[in-house]
Subunit: 405 residues, 2 copies
């Protein structure tokens, strides 16, 4: 037996939240409630040192406050939290992910996707992230493409095609990195030099499934790999289910390509509907059990889609998130220096491939692609087939700066 070192004092919000991602399961609304009540450091401190918090007001299920810091939350759940909080090593977890080139995002960070607030107390405590892109900006123009693990060739072919076409239209393809439809979706986006986000039900250092080790590593280079669970965490059935709410919340809509009755993909779609996101389904042969779940969805409120145009038509109505018609969302001066640098490298005329822009910017294609999709979300550039060009408003602004009309 080895003696574990004492848990580090949660000196700040980020360390505390990192520890809490090891303490509570994703989507634990009780944890979310007490975090909201005590703050991250206060909640963690009370778990590590019982009695340090001032007593909480009575919560649901209690008739009075009797000094219980977590009224309404079962003692078994609290005991599990205390046990796990005591063994958390958030500084080590942060080091592990930093060593992989990753980061740990918390609410308030500029990269935090604020649409996750729609999850209420089930909002992630924090997000472990690997990859070169800005998650918040990417998520603004993202679509989830999910479906069956044991998909048919029809499903795989369709998912790949949709992902390729969505990527070509400048949309970010989000999925769960599973076998079957998920993998086909990621691969379709990667193949088109596109943007893709894998949302894992495990640690971002612990790719699952193992057979997608190489795929997930590639996504971490060209796209983003994210998850709620700290390093070395393994997936469980409930973690898969709860991961799905994150996919739904992050994106503007969820497309189900193939799903049997009672499939996890339908959970994602229903979560999307509850969150006010678009839910879409790709139909298939009626005798196929793998299309039965999708057809069930389509007999409800989901929209039938057959190609990327129809998906974009639905999710592309950006409402208040849409770039205004005149001028980009942000003044150029507010862009991060690395992003502004890539924008400068986009030629004024004609679509230019990512690699050419990367050469002009003197950075890698992966880093350039990450910035280009950000610039796309912000309305500075457009994707045309395999190339990128400045939007009309950007061109006009550039001309103005250069003294043109």
């Amino acid at each position: 037996m080895t003696t574990r070192p004492d848990p580090p004092a949660p000196t700040d919000e980020r360390l505390a939240r990192a520890a809490l991602t090891r303490t509570a399961e994703p989507g634990d609304e009780h944890a979310g409630r007490w975090l909201r009540h005590y703050g991250a450091t206060g909640f963690l401190r009370e778990l590590l040192h019982p009695g340090t918090a001032r007593p909480a007001p009575s919560g649901p299920g209690t008739s009075r406050s009797d000094g219980d810091p977590f009224p309404g939350t079962g003692p078994r759940r609290v005991a599990s939290w205390r046990l796990r909080a005591a063994t958390a090593e958030p500084a080590r977890d942060l080091d592990t992910v930093h060593a992989l080139g990753g980061r740990f995002l918390i609410p308030g960070d500029t990269e935090w996707p604020s649409q996750l607030d729609d999850l209420g107390d089930a909002r992630p405590l924090g997000l472990w992230v690997r990859g070169p892109a800005d998650l918040r900006t990417w998520a603004l123009r993202s679509v989830a493409l999910v479906g069956a693990r044991a998909c048919t060739p029809y499903g795989a072919h369709t998912a790949t095609g949709l992902a390729t076409d969505l990527a070509r239209k400048g949309w970010v393809v989000v999925s769960g990195a599973a076998y079957g439809i998920d993998g086909a979706a990621h691969r379709g986006a990667l193949a088109a030099d596109g943007a893709t986000v894998a949302v894992l039900a495990c640690g971002v250092d612990t790719p699952y499934p193992r057979g997608h080790d190489r795929l997930i590593r590639r996504i971490a280079e060209q796209g983003l790999v994210i998850g709620e669970l700290p390093p070395r965490s393994h997936p469980t059935p409930s973690r898969f289910i709860l991961r799905n709410r994150l996919i739904a919340a992050l994106t503007r809509g969820t497309v189900v390509v193939e799903a049997q009755h009672r499939s996890g993909s339908l959970v994602t779609a229903r979560a999307a509907a509850r969150l006010g996101r678009h839910t879409m389904g790709v139909p298939g042969p009626v005798a196929s059990a793998l299309s039965a779940g999708v057809h069930e969805l389509l007999r409800g409120d989901a929209t039938l889609v057959t190609d990327a145009d129809e998906i974009v038509e639905l999710v592309g109505d950006m409402g208040q998130l849409a770039p205004p018609r005149r001028g980009p969302v942000l003044p150029r001066d507010l862009l991060a220096p690395a992003t502004a640098h890539v924008l400068e490298a986009v030629p004024a005329r004609g679509p230019t491939p990512t690699t050419a822009i990367a050469r002009r910017a003197g950075t890698t294609p992966d880093a350039t692609l990450a910035k280009l999709y950000e610039l796309h979300s912000l309305g500075f550039v457009e994707r045309h087939g395999e190339g990128w060009r400045l939007t009309n408003t950007t061109t006009r602004a550039s001309n103005a700066r250069r003294g043109g009309t």
Copy 2:
């Protein structure tokens, strides 16, 4: 050159309407309007003997009535009517169809399907009918199954399966007798010893397509073959289109199995929607051009269906047409003698095959089947798989009559 005999004097409504089916094209709303205005005999008389009608009031498109009997209707159309009315031989047409065991129905006949009134002035002038069943009663529980001529094996297989299952559930399958989906639907119903109606865009003595000669003959024996056009009429593209409105109006809903963009089946579905009937579509692979039209429909207001249960769930809400929960729609005493005779032959217990009931009734299976579907529409019997049995209310009524409980 042969000299045609003078047209027979239109001595009554039926003869006049028979002549008018040769005079005006199906769905001609001008003809419908003047028929409503002058009556069938008056309209025909004015066409045969111009000037015999009192002048009509001014119609749309005219500023005043100047003695024109058909104001608002173009002179070319009227000239065509006059020409065709002069060559009509309604008595001969009636003889031709009677010789085939058929009949000519007009509004007011007990067998006339009153839901055709929903077509307004485009209501058929009359219906030429072959087959042993009562059209009005059959149409009460009917569904249209239509689709592409050049269908895929997937479409044909699906249409046959749906038709078989609908027939087993006691529903009448209506289609257009074309190659492809239509033929598959009729065959599926026939194979299940079921009820099916072929609505032709030509004369009921002139099967089209020729390759379906035998199929249409079989439908005329076991089901019904109907159409608006008099004997020896051939189909034209516009007649196909106008035939579709009749399929839509006759049935409680239209299911499209496979259809390309701009397919005639979509015309039927849209006509059904305009008439307040249910429109349904069977999805397929998204890359299949033959499912593209159906998917287009499903992205609108049509309902996605994958099996007969889902179809019946939708169209089975019979509203005021539904048999009341207690007691059949009609007292037995009001049934036609031949129908009552078949009802008497249905055993009190257990589902009994059509052939066994036919033996007990001493009639042919085809004639028996026709009556059984009528009795089904009227709530006296139910179909269970390959057999028929009395409904609970019928059984109770029989028991009461026999002194039971």
